[in-house]
Amino acid sequence: MEVVAATKRALEERQVVANVSEVGTLGLCFAEPLMDVQTPGGPRIFYRNVTPELADSIVERHVAGGNPLSEHAIGYLGHRSLAPDGIPHLDDHPMRSMEQRIALRNAGNIDPSDLYQYIANGGYAALNKALTQMSPDETRQEVLTSGLRGRGGAAFPAGVKWGFLAGNPDPNKYILCNCEEGDPGAFNDRGILESDPATVVEGITIAGYACNANRGYIFIRHGHNQPIDRTRAVIEQAYELGLLGENILGSGFSFDVEVALTGDSYVSGEETALMEAIEGKRSMPRYRPPFPAQVGVFGKPSNINNVKTLAYVPEIVARGGEWFASIGTPADRDNGINGSSGTAILCLSGDITYTGLMEVPLGMTLRNVLFDMAGGVPNGKRMKLLQTGGPLGGVLSASDANLDLVLDFDVFRAAGAILGSGGIIVCDEDTCAVDLTRNLIAFCQYESCGKCFPCRMGMSHLLEVLERISNLEGTEEDLALMRNIGENMQAGSLCGHGQLGFNPVSSALRYFGDEFEAHILDKRHTGDCPEQVFSPKLTRR
């Protein structure tokens, strides 16, 4: 914000005429704030870690003076014949070199609030194709062919799920888009809505057509103002252009979309809890059956998909399901591998040189991603541990075998982790596995909605035991006690939060059991954790 203001001020002072626009994220978070400058006929040059002072000199020397500041530039985008002196092409940056952008194809390149820019880049060709050349069934078939699996956590095939709703004859049906994004370590859903909300609006409209649904909600957490404002802006323009509302593009198909907000609650990302929140209630999961495709939001049949899932849909329809299916990993059903098509949108945070967002083809190894692209762990330290797929996903050791895992939903599950929403928190050798597990369980305990006691009390109990262990007061029975609590949570919890809530502990014990044993049996710390650890306590009132 300060950088934008400083740039405008600098331009005014020097009476330079230029357009200043705020775009969404390019994904290179480690270098933010980024600023890019394009002079007539020149390439776009990107500056890293821009301060208000640097913005001022960029305006003076580059915008007004025509001399790029190569020492502050991270790269340029544009034809290679335009290469400025001493500045590499941005696509040669390791973080972008192996990317394949489908859902993020427009991110950082268009003004996210301007639907015309989306259309100028090929947007709405897919909806037009579906409405004019394909029946709803054919549209759904294309998504089935693509093999697209849900990116919200469970990796369920989207086309199959759409079929449940399409088969329901009710005239009032809903498509819900889940941008709750409570997973700490994941910021890709927000990233998409911040940098290209129109692709999600087009995607949900196509889903509506394929399922004969007539209303959609895009569900975003209150306070996430950029995604909320930008999504609302493109929805408004889509109505003005006849791309939403009655009789879209003269096809006879009508569809309404609005943004709905929730309060702070991790569990409102669970599909039935989300329906409760849209109805304005406490976001506590519902019993199933009935399933959402029979009784969903406001009692009407509903289908729910993650933001990323819907963001792929326009390109799948435009380029064909076969094309999407050709990217990623093949099925190997004898070994429980169903195949994972398309790309993974990963969020890298923690002890890693290049943090940020990247979209890479499924099938790449973790080693490719973490070392070749993201530059490994800084300061010459050793990579010790990876926390993937949100707090319920669990931890992996950064062993050679695990680094050779390919990005694939089923391969990750077999290794005891979840690829899920794509968050990867990298931890170096200084991170203590006992302490991180305690933090993950503190999160799960804080966020338990409280509806069922195996989860509500199980999480509190687990946290107590883990606090005891990290204070070197654990007893030999504690490992068995935790397993017992975990089994009860898995068997007796209503939703995934309680059912999967033992994952952090079970996976940590699997890979770092020796650290737990050192704490319990030898009364010895294995890292240098602070005496006083912080874990707030709150289960919902």
Partner: protein, 159 residues
């Protein structure tokens, strides 16, 4: 409750931009308008939504973003989610508590600032993260946290 606040509440409840209006959306609108949920707002929402006062309280107390006493001048949030935890959030929280002379989350006695813990501020790539009056700041150190909080308290003092 003064008439001005009363009318801010009814404006917030009655003129929401979206077409689906619920107990939750009304409460969020009031929170945005005046920064807290007074008893009068609970009554206004119950009336508007044809819900009972208990129903409205049930929703308001479930989500930790609602507060029930008027807000202080500044809101300081520190994230303790796993990305931030790994990058040293414990020390940021300790520094924030110390700068504000608080031992837990809550309001300073002089009404200048509120400290809140957050489970993820959504900027994990910039961990550890804090937010001051909703402006995110990343790669915070205990020292920079102290400085930022001192700056904010100074600006509060000069009002």
């Amino acid at each position: 409750m003064d008439a001005a606040t009363q009318s801010l509440i009814s404006d917030a409840v009655n003129s929401q931009p979206q077409s689906t209006v619920t107990v939750l959306s009304s409460l969020l609108a009031v929170e945005d308008a005046i920064g807290y949920i007074p008893k009068e707002a609970v009554e206004a929402v119950a009336l508007q939504m044809d819900a009972t006062i208990n129903d409205v309280w049930a929703v308001a107390t479930f989500y930790p973003n609602f507060r029930f006493v008027p807000p202080t001048e500044h809101r300081i949030e520190v994230c303790w989610g796993p990305s931030c935890h790994v990058m040293g959030a414990d020390r940021i929280i300790a520094a924030a508590q110390d700068s504000l002379s608080l031992s837990d989350e809550g309001d300073t006695p002089d009404g200048k600032a509120t400290l809140r813990y957050n489970t993820c501020l959504g900027a994990c790539a910039h961990a550890p993260v804090m937010a001051i009056d909703h402006h995110l700041a990343g790669r915070i150190t205990p020292e920079s946290a102290r400085e930022k909080i001192a700056d904010v308290l100074r600006s509060a003092a000069s009002h």
